[in-house]
């Protein structure tokens, strides 16, 4: 009887195969888990960087809008300043009241 036959008949080969299969599965599991974790980490990191970049851009947009807003406020103030209003009023034919009549309205 050959050694191989003896191993087969005594179950030695079967145990070895089982052990190897287990080891292979374990290694495969470790590799898959590591890959998944690395993938998740990279995704999160990339997403974080992307979000930060977007945030930075939006912060800059906000600053630009703030600049536009302040500029427009100044422009409105210029257009409604006293000299401009006076000039416009005169052009429209307004003039200071010569006499003012007051009407007393009693409280109900």
């Amino acid at each position: 009887m050959s050694v191989l036959w003896q191993q087969k008949t005594h179950g030695v080969l079967k145990r070895q195969e089982k052990m190897q299969r287990l080891l292979a599965r374990l290694l495969l599991g470790v590799v898959i888990t590591t890959t998944v974790l690395a993938g998740i980490y990279l995704t999160v990191a990339a997403s974080s960087v992307h979000t930060a970049r977007r945030l930075w851009e939006m912060e800059n947009q906000m600053a630009a809008v703030m600049r536009d807003n302040q500029g427009l406020m100044a422009e409105i103030a210029r257009l409604s300043s006293i000299p401009v209003l006076q000039e416009r009023s005169v052009a429209l034919g307004y003039q200071p009241a010569k006499s003012i009549d007051y009407l007393y309205v009693g409280e109900p």
Partner: protein, 578 residues
């Protein structure tokens, strides 16, 4: 020994594990044992100062929300000159845009030595947004634009002393300098980890907003319409009377709110560097709060109020006016040198009798009581208004080394005592407001960038005289206007007031020619809503016209008659009809 696949497999496994062990060991060392050390080293490597968009300063509005001081975006322009391919062409294009000569610009952007690193040079500062857009349209990547802000004064020089300015070092004048800690926005630079293009790294961005908070907005008590009118009247008065300077102050005696304050000479706040280059810093001082003057006869109101409030005299008290009074080595005379005979308190105000005022201070009140009232009315001390450079004035007290008996006599009619226009208006406000003197206010509320609004409440400064004394003196002042001050009368309204003509002190005496004319009053009577104080310095008119009653009273009348309408105060007869 290594026969068969099993043995070789075992050997490979052992070798792999052996190879992994040092890596694991290093990981433990780096990530666990020496973690903090490497972390600090890494932070030091990437942590740099990075620029944030500069926050705008808080704006300043009038009491109705109209903008007085705002911000306009401007840009500082620079160039990374080692990236320029054609400097001659670049200089010719940029010169008209940046308002610089072509030769000068060419010298700036020409690289003298070749370098591997980026060499940046500033080209010009504070170009407007339109120019910045034109520069962007050129699509030259070597041009850098850094946004910043410039203060914008919507009404030009209007209320310049009140609004003031602040220079790059944080020094300045007016309410802006006083309220700088509120107005100034967040810092424009921070320190944190940055990327290659000097923008913050994710951790920094995730930590919170990097947009700086704008400064706090201020709503002032100033009414833009009243202010503009007052400025116009003051300008006209300066021309009509050829005055060297002047101040008009309008305030609400009930709340202490300053509705308008205009002074001449004035300046345009945004051009302050030009004034400084020309050595004209003196123009920045606000005459209303920083420059004391001798008030003259307007001060008689204080003397009469003090005498009445002390209880030592009543409205029927009389004295014999001989036209002259000798006291403490000083010879006191009435302005016209005449004797007025038997006079009451009313006569002192009607005819502005120096002898009568001096009689009250020297023979009725005495030094202790007189100066107690002078201090109670706020003279010789600052009012605490939110403006920089407020002067306390000059009041010589009996405890001072340089005080003489003559001070007691001359101070009673506003000579030998220096007050600011604001102090004088405050003292008169106590008479108008039933004896209560309110803290003068220029800031009505603060509006924070997070939406909070903090109103600044009215605050009582003191009660120098009783309500009864205030009402009696106010009535005397009103009768004085009814009787003798035609120039100050306001059609439709009953007003109270007092004129003043003060000599200007010089070294060793008084200027024989120059005077400061003034008029202070309030209306309507009863229930005054507004105080107007007019000061005109060194009017160049004939000597017989150089009196407060001739010059300042008509200006007071002009201001008061319009301000009462602008404030919506109905005429006295209509109010009586109620």
């Amino acid at each position: 020994m290594l026969h068969g696949p099993d043995a070789r497999l075992r050997l490979i496994t052992v070798l792999l594990i052996a190879a992994l062990l040092p890596i694991l060991g290093q990981l433990v060392r780096l990530q666990v044992l020496e973690h903090s050390q490497y972390q600090s080293e890494a932070e030091a490597l990437v942590s740099r100062q990075y620029s944030l968009p500069e926050a705008p300063w808080g704006v300043i509005m009038d009491r109705n929300g109209d903008l007085l001081v705002g911000n306009v975006p401007v840009y500082n322009v620079g160039a990374e000159i080692n990236l320029i391919t054609d400097t001659v062409m670049a200089a010719s294009v940029l010169a008209p845009l940046l308002n610089r000569s072509e030769e000068e610009l060419l010298a700036t952007i020409t690289l003298t030595e070749s370098t591997q690193t980026i060499e940046w040079r500033p080209l010009t500062n504070r170009v407007p947004a339109e120019t910045a857009q034109k520069l962007l349209d050129l699509k030259w990547t070597w041009i850098t634009l850094s946004p910043t802000w410039e203060r914008y004064y919507a009404e030009g020089a209007m209320a310049c002393h009140t609004l003031g300015f602040v220079n790059a070092r944080g020094m300045g004048y007016g309410v802006q300098a006083f309220q700088l800690r509120f107005l100034r926005g967040d810092s424009m630079q921070r320190v944190g980890p940055v990327s290659g293009d000097t923008s913050p790294l994710p951790d920094e961005l995730m930590g919170g907003s990097l947009t700086p908070y704008p400064g706090t907005d201020l709503r002032l008590t100033i009414d833009r319409t009243i202010q503009a009118f007052v400025e116009g009247v003051l300008d006209q008065a300066m021309v009509d009377y050829k005055a060297a300077g002047g101040t008009i102050l309008v305030m609400n005696p009930r709340t202490g709110e300053i509705l308008a304050v205009a002074s001449r000479p004035n300046y345009e706040p945004h051009r302050y560097p030009e004034y400084m280059e020309n050595g004209q810093e003196a123009i920045f001082r606000d005459p209303a709060v920083s420059v004391p003057y001798e008030p003259g006869s307007v001060f008689k109101v204080i003397t009469v109020a003090a005498a009445y409030d002390s209880g030592r005299v009543d409205a029927n008290w009389t004295y014999n006016d001989l036209g002259k009074l000798e006291y403490g080595g000083a010879s006191i005379r009435n302005s016209d040198g005449a004797a007025y005979g038997q006079q009451r308190l009313q006569g002192i105000l009607d005819y502005s009798l120096n002898v009568g005022a001096a009689t009250l201070s020297t023979q009725v009140l005495g030094a202790d009581l007189f100066y107690k009232y002078v201090r109670a009315f706020g003279f010789g001390q600052t009012t605490g208004i939110e403006l920089t450079g407020e002067a306390s004035g000059i009041v010589h007290l009996p405890t001072d080394w340089d005080w003489t008996d003559s001070h007691l006599a001359t101070n009673s009619f506003g000579q030998g005592i220096a007050v600011t226009p604001l102090q004088m208006a405050m003292a008169i406000s106590a008479v108008a407001n039933d004896g209560v003197m309110m803290q003068p206010r220029i800031v009505m509320e603060r509006q924070y960038s997070d939406g909070r609004i903090v109103p600044i409440p009215a605050h009582e400064l003191g009660r120098p005289i009783s309500a009864e004394a205030a009402r009696v003196v106010a009535e005397m002042m009103a009768r004085s206007v009814d009787k003798v001050a035609k120039a100050a009368q306001v059609p439709g309204y009953r007003v109270a007031g007092k004129s003043g003509t003060a000599q200007i002190p010089t070294t060793g005496g008084y200027d024989p020619q120059q005077v400061i004319v003034s008029y202070a009053g309030f209306g309507p009577v009863p229930n005054p809503q507004v105080i107007v104080l007019v000061n005109l310095e060194r009017p160049d008119v004939p000597a017989n016209m150089r009196w407060g009653m001739h010059i300042a009273a008509p200006v007071f009348q002009k201001v008061m008659s319009r301000v009462l309408i602008l404030m919506g105060v109905p005429p006295s007869d209509l109010r009586a009809g109620q």
